[in-house]
């Protein structure tokens, strides 16, 4: 296989970029850090525990597979990709979810989502989203228990030990009162009961388009501003390009704008769509995953637009209140096709690969 060609040790170019894979992954982690820390503050110790458990198990899953294949695990773990997979998955879980949800998800992400396909670079689907969807389908109840923010500074917030108890044993009765619904979920449930948005939304704690993100939701999805800030950092560092995030957010915003204008009592506003659920996290950190998105600019625009549009469709008319994960997976499946048909134009050739005509004036 990879041994059919064994290149000599050194060949041109003799200069290499200072970038490397671990550095890319570490920068992404750094860009996620503010939103994550905000999530910790917002939802307290249980969130911290869940985050650690999810990452731990996704690293463990990766190491296990490598051991089974008799490959050294440490160098691969150091590339940071399993860490990032676990991290992204943790950010998309309900912050007070029980430990086994994170553990199962972490293992599923790296084993089924990634190593089964052949490891880094070989997987068709985004591992974190594969795991999230698997959890959502297998444990719909546990995946939709949300809590209202209970900041660490709040005396009612669970301490380290209580937090551990919550993560390990489920929600104790003392904290029953804090369960809540996400804005998208609430709106969907109420709509299905025939209560329109004008009435249902007033009962949600924080306004849907509150920029601070202090509301019920996944561990790291609500802090839209911090996520967008992290995304901008990645743009500045040129780790990602603007194509996917801009296309995705635009493709959510445009239908939202149209339908909200048509019937504001049935369709959420653009701001609510962009600022809630996994829109920001998805646009900057998940849809932009190198491995599972197209690698030409045009392809990325199409891919991003697809994810955005499907997200809107699923949220609005589908069975689930949130659609980013499904939309990402659907577009992941289309990525090979997009890559196949949207190739960059080659110098001296037209888009279809035919050599350009030689201009008349010079052949005369």
């Amino acid at each position: 296989m990879s041994n059919t060609l064994r290149p000599p040790l050194v060949a041109a170019p003799y200069a290499v970029t200072p970038h490397n894979v671990s550095r890319v992954m570490l920068w992404v982690a750094a860009a996620l850090a503010p939103a994550t820390v905000f999530g910790f503050w917002l939802y307290g110790w249980p969130a911290v525990h869940l985050w650690l458990i999810t990452i731990g198990f996704s690293l463990f899953g990766e190491a296990l597979c490598l051991r089974l294949m008799q490959r050294a695990a440490i160098p691969v773990l150091l590339d940071g990709s399993a860490l990032l997979t676990g991290w992204l998955l943790a950010l998309s879980l309900p912050p007070w979810a029980p430990w086994w949800l994170g553990a199962f998800g972490g293992l599923f992400a790296t084993i089924i989502g990634k190593q089964v396909f052949g490891g880094l670079g070989q997987n068709l689907f985004n591992p974190a989203m594969v795991a999230r969807v698997a959890l959502l389908i297998s444990f719909p109840a546990a995946m939709t228990v949300w809590v209202a923010p209970l900041p660490l500074t709040n005396p009612a917030a669970p301490g380290f030990i209580d937090g551990l108890r919550i993560t390990m044993g489920g929600l104790p009765a003392a904290f029953d009162g804090v369960t809540s619904a996400t804005m998208l979920g609430h709106a969907k449930t109420e709509l299905s009961r025939g209560i329109d948005l004008a009435h249902s939304l007033v009962t949600v704690g924080a306004p849907a388009d509150d920029l601070s993100g202090a509301r019920a939701g996944s561990l790291g999805e609500t802090a839209s501003v911090l996520l967008a800030g992290g995304g901008l950092l990645l743009l500045v560092l040129r780790i990602i390009t603007w194509h996917i995030p801009v296309a995705m957010l635009t493709a959510i915003a445009i239908p939202a704008l149209i339908f909200h204008a048509i019937d504001p009592t049935r369709y959420l506003s653009t701001a609510s769509h962009l600022l809630s659920g996994g829109a920001m996290l998805g646009a900057f950190f998940i849809a932009t995953d190198y491995v599972t998105s197209p690698n030409t600019r045009l392809g990325q625009l199409l891919f991003g637009a697809g994810v955005g549009f499907l997200t809107y469709v699923i949220r609005t008319w589908g069975g689930y209140p949130e659609g980013v994960a499904f939309a990402v997976l659907l577009m992941n499946a289309l990525t090979p096709v997009i890559d196949r048909y949207l190739k960059p134009r080659i110098y001296g050739r037209d888009r279809r690969g035919k050599a350009l005509e030689i201009a008349e004036e010079s052949t005369s």
Binding site: L9, A11, G121, R349
Partner: protein
């Protein structure tokens, strides 16, 4: 606005890479001249095409500039003595070639006098016919000094035939570390400009565009001054972006024209010559001097006094490194630039016409990071100046599917190395491509050979078959005769026995 610019637009072209250029301080050091070494080793193949054929004998005394070896075939170049002295050997040496194979070379022992032979300067080259200029350029052994080493006169004739309107002069020198062209333009701008005007005359071009990367302000200023009197010679600063010095990319940047795949630049009305080639043409015509020396950049972390050195061809890398001094044993020696240069096995290799630089890297510069798995980040695709998909080509080659790689137009790859440079997984992409290109051309050759062999085998089989047939026929005939004879004999005996 500034920050938005950074996201949405990049400075200059949207291809290529911007490696740390390491050009200074070497580029700013004054030009030095290497004293002629005791012995010069002059390979017969310093150009693309047929190797030159020696016309001197061992023991023969030669003067500087005297013909040592003549061109052989349509595409070839003669070679001249870089100094006066005596031919002491004609034999094989290790030549600067990726294969590291031995090559025929003439060894010249300098007599220390550096005495010129006869020269035939032309006072007014513009009074000569284009054909005469091409002839003199060819006789002076001038080849493309940007690295391609294609015989210049052949290109002149091509340009003339295809009615090229614009001469593009390549002063890009986009390879990191190198500054020999920069140095030439700083110190000898008027030679370059005169040479390029002679080339314009030779190919019948109406104007010339000189592309110089913006990171060489001194060269740009000197060239602008030298080109001032000539309205049809324009000095054009171009963005410093590798591989700006690649012909196709420079043509596109300067004229907006793209050279169609499988076509030559001359077919879109332009011809590219390097600035050093222009200076060599100037010397060949105005001074009657053949190409026997050049400016070589000696640079890299292991060099004590990096800079540009004027050196006779045939001087060895060791002579140059001895001249500039080393701070440490080089961890790697490279001929040319770090992006497309050739690895040198040792320092006893001579300087040839196309040698723009010698790099002696220290251990840090020579570090090769371990290759990892492709993360499909697309950096290689964005960097490729040809618009290819390096990761897809490499995937197919890794799987042994060379035809698959060809469908991604592997043959359009200019081996610039941008993809491998940017790859965060440090995958040696260019190696895959050169391996595949080599393998494909070997297959092509063996296909031809196989076809010929198959024909021979078929002919042989047909012959054998015919022979067997004939033998069988002959045997059958003999058998029939024998049988008939037997029958006759039996008949007789029967008759004899019957009574």
């Amino acid at each position: 606005m500034g920050i938005l610019d950074r996201f949405f637009k990049s400075h200059g072209p949207d291809w290529g890479v911007h490696p740390d250029d390491h050009k200074r301080p070497a580029a700013d050091a004054p030009l030095r001249t290497l004293p002629v070494p005791e012995k010069l080793y002059i390979p017969m193949q310093q150009h693309v095409g047929g190797p030159a054929r020696p016309v001197v004998l061992v023991g023969q005394a030669v003067l500087k500039g005297q013909l040592l070896a003549e061109a052989q075939g349509n595409i070839s170049a003669p070679i001249h003595a870089p100094t006066s002295g005596r031919v002491v050997a004609i034999g094989e040496i290790t030549a600067p070639h990726p294969s590291g194979l031995a090559q025929l070379a003439i060894t010249l022992a300098s007599d220390g006098n550096d005495t010129w032979g006869e020269r035939q300067p032309v006072v007014d080259p513009f009074s000569l016919s284009p054909a005469e200029i091409a002839k003199r350029t060819a006789a002076a052994g001038v080849v493309g000094l940007g690295g391609a080493t294609f015989p210049s006169a052949v290109k002149f004739n091509l340009g003339k035939r295809l009615k090229v309107s614009t001469l593009i002069v390549n002063g890009g020198e986009c390879e990191p570390y190198l500054s020999s062209d920069d140095c030439l333009m700083r110190y000898r701008a008027s030679e370059v400009v005169d040479g390029l005007r002679i080339i314009m005359h030779a190919i019948g071009a109406g104007d010339a565009l000189v592309g110089i990367e913006e990171n060489k302000p001194e060269a740009i200023a000197a060239m602008k001054l030298a080109a001032e009197p000539f309205g049809n010679v324009r000095i054009c600063p171009v963005p410093a972006r590798y591989p700006m010095g690649s012909d196709k990319q420079l043509i596109q940047t300067l004229t907006g024209k793209e050279v169609p795949a499988d076509a030559r630049a001359a077919e879109v009305g332009v011809l590219v010559h390097n600035v050093s080639t222009c200076a060599a043409v100037h010397r060949a015509l105005r001074l009657g001097e053949p190409l026997i020396e050049r400016i070589v950049t000696v640079n890299g972390g292991a060099v004590a006094t990096p800079g540009n050195v004027f050196a006779p061809l045939g001087a060895r890398v060791a002579d140059l490194l001895g001249f500039t001094g080393l701070t440490q044993e080089p961890a790697r020696l490279i001929l040319g630039g770090p992006m497309m240069g050739t690895l040198l096995p040792h320092a006893t290799i001579p300087i040839v016409k196309g040698a723009s630089g010698i790099l002696a890297f220290d251990a840090r510069e020579a570090r090769v990071p371990e290759a990892g798995a492709c993360i499909r980040c697309g950096s290689c695709t964005r960097a490729c100046p040809m618009g290819l998909l390096p990761l897809e080509m490499a995937n197919h080659i890794r799987a042994g599917d060379l035809e698959g790689a060809l469908r991604y137009e592997l043959s359009d790859c200019i081996a610039c190395g941008c993809c491998a440079y940017v790859c965060p997984a440090h995958i040696p992409l260019v190696q895959y491509f050169s391996h595949a290109k080599g393998e494909l051309s070997a297959r092509e050759r063996s296909k031809l050979r196989n076809a010929a062999t198959r024909r021979l085998v078929e002919q042989r089989l047909a012959r054998l078959e015919r022979e067997t047939r004939e033998k069988a026929a002959a045997a059958a005939k003999r058998k029939a005769e024998r049988d008939a004879a037997k029958a006759r004999a039996a008949g007789t005996s029967v008759t004899e026995a019957s009574p």
